[in-house]
Amino acid sequence: MDATWGILIVDDDQDALKICAKYLEDKKYRIVTARDGNEALSLFEEDLFHAVITDMVMPGLDGMGLIREIKKRNQRAAVIMMTAFASINTAVEAMKAGAADYISKPVNPDELRVKVAKALQQYSMDEEFQLLKLKAVSQGTEEIIGESAALRKTLNLITLVAPRDVPVVLAGESGTGKDLAAKAIHKASSRARGPFVAINCAAVPETLLESELFGYAKGAFTGAYGAKKGLFEEATGGTLLLDEIVDAPPSIQGKLLRVLQDGEIRRLGSTKSTPVDVRVLAATNRDLRQAIASGQFREDLFYRLSVVTIPFPPLRERKEDILLLADHFIKKHGPSINPLVRGIMPEASEKLTGHSWPGNVRELENCMKQALVVAMGSVVAAEDIRLASVPSGQAMTESSGDLTALGRAEADFYRDYFERVMRRAGGNVTVAAAIAGISRKNVYEHLRRTGLDPAGFRRGE
């Protein structure tokens, strides 16, 4: 079993280090030791430690300095000060610097274990609180659902980044929740009261994109009868999401770079610059470094935008979230599509978790909507789940993937639905019309289109 918690022990006395490590021997703990503050800091930067137990008097960086440096790097890391200085002043100073607790030498092993367990429990609660906070701020847009380690890592990053007013790149395949995350970041930032504005750079022609982003002056082009604000100005005081940033043409990329550098825009046809106060988030479903290598994306813009890059794991890499999401979509869409459905059959669950979900969460949501439509009982059965037949592990792009799935889904859906209805009705078109809630004429029309023969069902085929 892998150790759950990383603990770093720091003391300039080798024996004290060994003893402290012995006191904490436990399968749950991964113990690493350091002889002074500087060594401890290097180790802390290289690895994940949930708790640090440090001596106070050490050569070089001392315990108090180490607490401060650790807190700069990870606010949640629990630091326990271990020293002979059993004075109130030292304890107060250590707590002010961010220590979680304080233990006097000679160390009592039971007391140490209790204090470490308590500090780690606090760490865990802080982490949960941050996630809940993020979920709370993302309410009202839509929740980001999942409990997998991969998603938690992403959520942690979002929580850390949201309050810091820096550009962020959201990178991941289509349908992984980048747009939800962008809204959550906005809502958790100091700009939450300001506007959230989004534009898909791939969906707007180059000529329009410039005026959309930067606005235009009166008379800037034929038909510009009045001045118009661009999205940067619209988003002032708030957040601007540039979706599919790689598809922004080179001329626009250059202008975006200037906005990020100078904090001001110039409307099309104007000679005057206007200051803008906007946090820029950029989303991409492609690898920006590859786009730079192929000359499609400016490297200088990349460095301006990617102060922090948040990766979004595809659904196939967080399979443990699939059923949570499926259940969420039943609750979300069930009331309007099929209120009778309350859950999923085990076989249907297996089918869902066995699929590679190239269209990610969006594809799963569409699939569950379809399942709700065709489900006959109170649970979604395996045959209610219609999956796009894309080879496992192969991602599809948003444009081709979703259109293909929907086109095929429509035909598949009607055939599947009327096959089930006719079977349930024993081939009786009148009964089938009652089940489907449509006229007999319409049932006949659907049977004709789908190539189904009512007589076949009467014969029990």
């Binding site: 006395d13 024996d15 004290a16 060994k18 003893i19 006191y23 106070m56 008097v57 000679p106 160390v107």
Partner: protein, 215 residues
Amino acid sequence: MKGSDERLFFEHDLATPFNNLEGAKYLLERLAQDQGGDAAEALEIIGRSSRTLQKMLYWYWEIRKVEESYEPSPPWSARRLHEAACKEIAGNSLPLQEPASRGPIEAVTLSAPENDLVVALIGAGLSFQAASGMEAAWEICAVGGVIRVSFKVEGAASELDPASFFRKAYHPRKEEIRGRFDAGLPYLTAILSKSGGGRELAWSGNETRLEIWLG
């Protein structure tokens, strides 16, 4: 360095061997209970801890002696300070340069006990050298009727803040102190407080000095 700080450092260093002895006991208890203790490890810890305690108690004892029963000696020429320092360094093969002398040092008389003062100066020099991590140049000279002793290294303190450097000089790591010179700078401080004089850590440009005035 305030006296209270000095006592806190002493308390800290004293707590470590006691802490380790408790740890050794824990290891032996685990062994007795067949829970994987380590007897060899425990014995080594006990040995090291008792040696540390011995050193620390010597340190504390020497300083207390100066504080409580200091007796000035009849005036003696500072020339003997230079000679005695050279003899101690050579006789004990200490990793410290012999002091250079400058000016009419023989004309200045001192009242601190000769042997104690020499040991204290050498201990302070070793502490200073250990803190800087460099070999120190040592000079004894007469300036305006007093003796100025200086230990000097090039550039060492520029990378450390003064408080941190002084604490390292004042409170050397255990493995770097030796025998009766263990008491180091705190011992010198105690003697100076009784016999008159002072000490200061100073740096300018690319040079760090421990300056001591006697007499």
